[in-house]
Symmetry: C2
Subunit: 337 residues, 2 copies
């Protein structure tokens, strides 16, 4: 910028104003500056701008893992709004670790992101690191894995209803011994899905059996664990389920693989219905009935809320929680008994 001021024999401030199309500058000078800038393809130093203006026009994202289709869809939604509003996006992954989450959150905060979009790691129970930042004035919006110990905007799906509808469908289709495969992590999402499952059973006078509720560590990533639990549940246990409702993506697909290995036919021997966002549900063997979460929309809504938080000057005290519906897709893995 100094170069162009010198070249045109103007002051830096005039150039700055001309570049930002200030009303104080004559059309003639503006044109002069703009033309010169374009010719020498001047680009403002955004770092300097950020320092001066105290904001960076960037938003930070914290998710568990980007190689999960649900999160990549969320990020896509975030990006679609953020970019059109002139924000760029810095993301980090927790890999479901609390320590990494704290580290990433602090890193982003001190990189001067203007706001934070976060889905908590499954390990996280204490959210002081986020409360502190919020008190310091950083706008934060939660999505997916949220915490009720902090008051801010949130975007979630209707986990209860998703599980309730799925379970009800299984019952109506003729399955009465429905096991629930879920995560050991004590998160809001886990609890809501479990509650939806239990409520659907109760509402249909199907007894709830503790031994039909199975908990997996690492969200089903430990294949051996899934295999041993399923073997116990389906082959060596006493009461055998005739349907499985899986609460998480990885548990769903790993279960599908294990059932193949164990030569258990779906849905002849057992029905399978799971939360997952895979686009391949149609071409799985068998095609898989799923509870789909609107990841893209979730990212969009969260970002809209965050940007509005960033833009409002006065401190916000009224917060909103958007609840998006899940979608039940029925395919062959839950055909009539």
């Amino acid at each position: 910028m100094n170069d162009i001021a010198r070249a045109l024999d103007l002051s830096a401030s005039t150039v700055s104003k001309a570049l930002s199309n200030s009303y104080e500058i004559s059309e003639k000078t503006k044109k002069l500056v703009l033309d010169y800038a374009k010719a020498n393809n001047y680009r403002p130093n955004l770092i300097a701008q950020s320092l001066k203006q105290g904001h960076s026009n960037s938003i930070g994202i914290v998710v568990a893992s980007i190689d999960n289709l649900f999160f990549s869809q969320v990020i896509n939604g975030i990006e679609s709004i953020a970019h059109s509003e002139g924000y760029n996006v810095i993301f980090t992954q927790t890999h479901e670790s609390y320590d990494l989450e704290v580290k990433n959150v602090n890193h982003l905060a001190h990189r001067s992101v203007d706001g934070l979009l976060i889905s908590l790691s499954t390990e996280t129970t204490n959210i002081d690191h986020l409360k502190k930042l919020q008190q310091q004035g950083l706008p934060i919006v939660f999505f997916d894995k949220v915490s009720y110990e902090i008051d801010t905007h949130k975007v979630i799906v209707d986990n209860f209803k998703g599980a309730y509808e799925a379970t009800t469908h299984l019952i109506k289709t003729g399955y009465k011994n429905i096991a629930h495969l879920t995560s050991i992590a004590d998160t809001y999402v886990t609890r809501e899905r479990l509650a939806g499952y239990v409520q659907a059973l109760k509402d249909n006078d199907v007894p709830v059996k503790e031994e039909f509720i199975k908990y997996f560590s690492k969200g089903g990533r430990d294949v051996e664990e899934v295999k041993s639990i399923l073997t116990e549940l389906l082959l060596t246990g006493n009461a055998k389920p005739d349907a499985l409702l899986s609460a998480f993506d990885k548990i769903t697909t790993t279960t599908l693989g294990i059932l193949h290995q164990l030569k258990i036919k779906i849905p002849q021997h057992i029905a399978l219905l799971g939360f997952t966002n895979t686009v391949l549900a149609d071409v799985l063997n068998p095609s898989l009935s799923t509870v789909y979460q609107p990841g893209f929309e979730m990212g969009q809504e969260a970002t809209k809320m965050l940007i509005s938080l960033i833009k409002t000057k006065r401190p916000v005290t009224e917060f909103e929680t958007i609840v998006l519906p899940t979608q039940l897709f029925l395919r062959n893995s839950t055909l009539k008994k």
Copy 2:
């Protein structure tokens, strides 16, 4: 920082030096400053640091789309190295558009990323936007979709060999009428995979038929197009193939879906083998033989190279291209004829 200088009755420069553990500062003062900083949980303003030091400790990533497992694996690899080296990662998506690519690249460059990691969009043929930045001194490393019109480090997979081995396997298994499903985009990747396919046919004395090479727009994202081309190829055409080699992820999975729709049995009526990184290959119907690309490793290698480029002071003139092997996974979709 000023606050802490004032509180401790020191100068800002002393504090700065103490914080960076300068040898000029006495142990006593260092301890004083460090303790105070920790107690008041002081965090340096990274923006100011960047402005002063002329680098931002961040690297920019440009990929086609994050909701593609291959790219999310690459990004995971990038992140694993970048974070351990103290860099953070800003990413953007081209959605295979040249215009978006130019926009994103320039945005990143002027956000002062210290280096750029890019996989070109399929639309891109002119890479002046990257040449210009490279001349201005920005370190750039290409991966996956690279260009040979620019001299810098690159990481690719052995596309030729991947397609060659896949085709050879089909021939050895008894399939002689192998069609190649690929993208209309005239990229290096497309050409190499096609060349591998053609060479394998020639080496096995199988005639190459032009009508067996089918080109799809939008990388197979247009389902109707895939359906109409496959219908023509498999049902209404004269010479009918007995096997399909698909060169891209989306084409592979869309083809699988269409074959189901058309009630064409795999591999009884036709074998299918495709480039894809899906983790669900085992549980597809039928389980899918695939050519897998090591995305994670690719991201790691590219990032190592980029960081070394960033760290070397003198201009680098010797550039390297790393070629990673693909892996052929044989499953039921290519069982013996």
